[in-house]
């Protein structure tokens, strides 16, 4: 498979920062909107870098980096309406940002103080899903709910190249297609599933999978925030208008390790990384803004400064994230009273009191 994504790749902004046109897709953004996208990209990358640092410092048990996937996530996230609903994996920190989830809330799961972190309904952004593929069926179910509500909201679900091999993901294609559900399948093809290259999951470009299920698939330059925005907007609009699902393959690259526990040097060559560095999703926007006089040094400096402040806040916030109360183990397992939970909680309290009593 072509490393550059091939001719089918939808692109509006080249790696060199040149604005190009595409016969099917375009965006018309104000200077403010363009600068806002740049700001998103920079702040999201900074959040990711800071979280990675916090893991190194032992403040987080793990972190799944998005480095390199900022444009795919910001572009698609900004294409959403506030009342649309998004279903992420565990790596969608950039999408979370566009859904106004406080970055600090993302850290809880990785620090081990919660298995969730935010209120999905406040942000129309589901909790992170760790078990590969599960969330794609939830997205289709949610979209079926929208059809029954009779509104024009849409749903987007994120998943990776590796996830496309899971039965659940393919079943979600079947259900979405058969019910013509208003859902966008957003696959970030970052070329790797931990140590396994794309070739372990497919022998043809992933966007073509959709054709097998009877709905459109499109491959977009995942490092081009404008193209991702345009393509995702079109797919969402399509869903709103009752034309059913679309599969978007965002062709990108996982610049970091799979997670902070991973060691990519065992399975991939530095050369690839170097090649992809030239396609950086942020640099091209910066060049474009500067060249076209849409932003000056003051603006870039201001964004840097804002990133710095954000990072400091995140660092302090993380250290002060409270540990869960031991007894909270038993909270929320059931909505209604449960005799076994009650007796185990009682026993738990008795046991811990026995220490206070110095019995041990």
């Amino acid at each position: 498979m072509t490393a550059d994504g091939g001719p089918e790749l939808v692109q509006l902004l080249t790696p060199e920062g040149e604005r190009v046109h595409h016969r099917d897709y375009d965006v018309d953004l104000t200077p403010d909107e363009l600068r806002a996208l740049y700001r998103d990209l920079v702040l999201v990358r900074r959040v990711d870098a800071e979280a990675t640092a916090l893991q190194r410092q032992g403040e987080l048990g793990l972190w799944a980096q998005l480095l390199g996937q900022e444009a795919a996530q910001v572009g698609s996230g900004r294409a959403l309406r506030p009342d649309d609903f998004a279903f992420p994996t565990y790596r969608e920190h950039g999408v979370a940002w566009t859904r106004d989830v406080d970055p600090l809330q993302l850290l809880g799961l990785f620090r081990g103080v919660t298995n969730g972190g935010w209120d999905p309904h406040d942000h129309n952004f589901a909790l992170y899903t760790i078990v590969i593929g599960d969330q794609t069926l939830h997205a289709v179910g949610y979209a079926m709910g929208i059809q029954r509500d009779g509104t024009d909201r849409a749903v987007i679900t994120y998943f990776g190249d590796g996830a496309t091999s899971q039965g659940d993901v393919n079943e979600s294609f079947v259900f979405a297609s058969v019910y013509n559900a208003p859902v966008v399948f957003f696959c970030q093809n970052n070329q790797w599933a931990i140590s396994e290259p794309l070739e372990r999951q497919t022998r043809i470009p992933l966007y073509k999978r959709a054709a097998g299920f009877g709905f459109p698939g499109v491959r977009v330059d995942g490092n081009d925030v404008l193209a991702v925005l345009a393509v995702t907007r079109a797919a969402l609009q399509n869903a709103r208008e009752g034309n059913g699902p679309t599969l978007i393959e965002a062709f990108t690259y996982r610049m970091g390790a799979h997670t902070t526990s991973d060691d990519p040097t065992r399975y991939r060559v530095a050369a690839d990384l170097e090649a992809w560095k030239l396609k950086d999703p942020i640099e091209r926007v910066k060049v474009y803004l500067a060249r076209s006089g849409l932003a000056d040094h003051d603006f870039f400096d201001a964004v840097e400064a804002e990133a710095e402040t954000l990072a400091i806040g995140l660092r302090e916030g993380c250290r002060s994230l409270p540990n869960p109360e031991p007894e909270s183990l038993f909270d929320h397992v059931y909505a209604e009273p449960h005799s076994l939970i009650d007796s185990e909680r009682e026993e738990f309290v008795r046991y811990h009191a026995s220490f206070a009593g110095g019995q041990h």
């Binding site: 298995n115 209120d119 069926l137 709910g145 659940d168 259900f175 929320h332 209604e336 449960h338 005799s339």
Partner: protein, 327 residues
């Protein structure tokens, strides 16, 4: 009041739930025009439409997974799995999502999902149509697992399951679908007994039989037969296998001193194991014999010509009673 089969009683319960709450949806394979292979959903799609009584693609994980999404969107999905042996493709969605999502979200996203599962053997079916998977679900925190033993309970309990904000695995004893009873379909489920409370269905003093679903009738028949030998058996319909109503069983055992647990599922790590462990802990000094268990063997469900050899019946129950009394 009308004489009704369990299948029709569940149908009536589903109808009431659909009438009372517009958010209630039924999903499953062949539940529409066909009315399900056991006709439990007969007529419901005709009356409530295809948007609320949904014929799903042939994929159990997809059915349960989309039900999770519908629950997140504010609906109350009632999923029918066609047969016990076909629930396993949905196991990940049930164990990983349905059971755990509420806790994961700190209670923000409840999972008011009911999974209807015709279960158990004795209908002369081919493989995969006679299994008793309840222990898998009972061992899974976050789920509730209940089973009616008669049409009246079936009618009430299915509505209670649907009304619950917790996910409920609703086990339907398929070989009892055609059992009949007088049903008063005006009963108010709010006032009905909790589905998590066991019920003493026969008072006795010699020994206690604890059972649920299809085995309740078997145990009552055994108790009747035992009368001839002067044995006065108490029979408890557990109704819920997760949670288990320990106080009701313990009270009975303190009276009788002996407990036999009966179920179709394999004895090894079946519900009887948990009940035996807990009751022994609760009633250590009251027990005059160890808790004995009558159930399936540690084998796959056999070809149906061996239904009778495999399934607990009146004689096997009484044999266990004899063994308990021998202590």
């Amino acid at each position: 009041m009308a004489v009704t089969t369990m299948a029709k009683a569940i149908n009536a319960g589903l109808r009431k739930a659909l009438e009372n709450d517009p958010k209630v949806l039924l999903m499953g394979e062949d539940i529409g025009k066909l009315g399900g292979v056991f006709r439990v959903t007969d007529g419901l799609q005709k009356d409530f439409g295809e948007a609320r009584v949904i014929d799903s693609p042939l994929a159990e994980s997809g059915i349960v997974g989309t039900a999770v999404g519908l629950a997140m969107a504010g609906y109350r999905p009632v999923v029918e799995i066609q047969f016990d042996g076909f629930v396993y493709p949905a196991f990940d969605q049930i164990v990983t999502q349905v059971a755990k999502h509420r806790a994961r979200s700190s209670g923000r996203t409840p999972m008011p999902i009911t999974i209807r599962l015709p279960f158990g053997g004795g209908i002369g079916a081919v493989e995969h149509h006679s299994e008793s998977p309840e222990a898998y679900f009972a061992h899974t925190a976050g789920l509730r697992v209940i089973s009616p033993s008669n049409p009246v309970d079936a009618f009430v309990m299915v509505q209670q399951a649907i009304a619950s904000d917790d996910p409920v695995i609703f086990l339907e004893p398929k070989r009892r679908y055609w059992d009949e009873a007088d049903l008063d379909d005006t009963v108010d489920i709010a006032l009905a007994q909790s589905p998590y409370a066991a019920r003493v269905v026969r008072q006795g003093t010699t020994a206690t039989l604890a059972c649920y679903g299809p085995m309740v009738r078997t145990c009552l028949e055994a108790a009747l037969a035992a009368e001839a030998d002067g044995l006065d058996l108490e029979v408890i319909d557990l109704r819920s296998v997760s949670p288990l109503d320990i106080p009701t069983v313990a009270a009975s055992v303190r009276k009788t001193g002996r407990l036999i647990v009966v179920h179709e599922a394999s004895v090894f790590l079946g519900i009887g194991a948990e009940l035996a462990a807990r009751i022994t802990e609760e009633c250590f000094y009251a027990l005059e014999a160890p808790v004995l268990r009558v159930g399936g063997y540690h084998t796959p469900y056999p070809p149906s010509r061996l239904d009778e050899e495999y399934l607990p019946d009146l004689d096997r129950v009484l044999d266990a009673v004899d063994r308990a009394l021998a202590y």
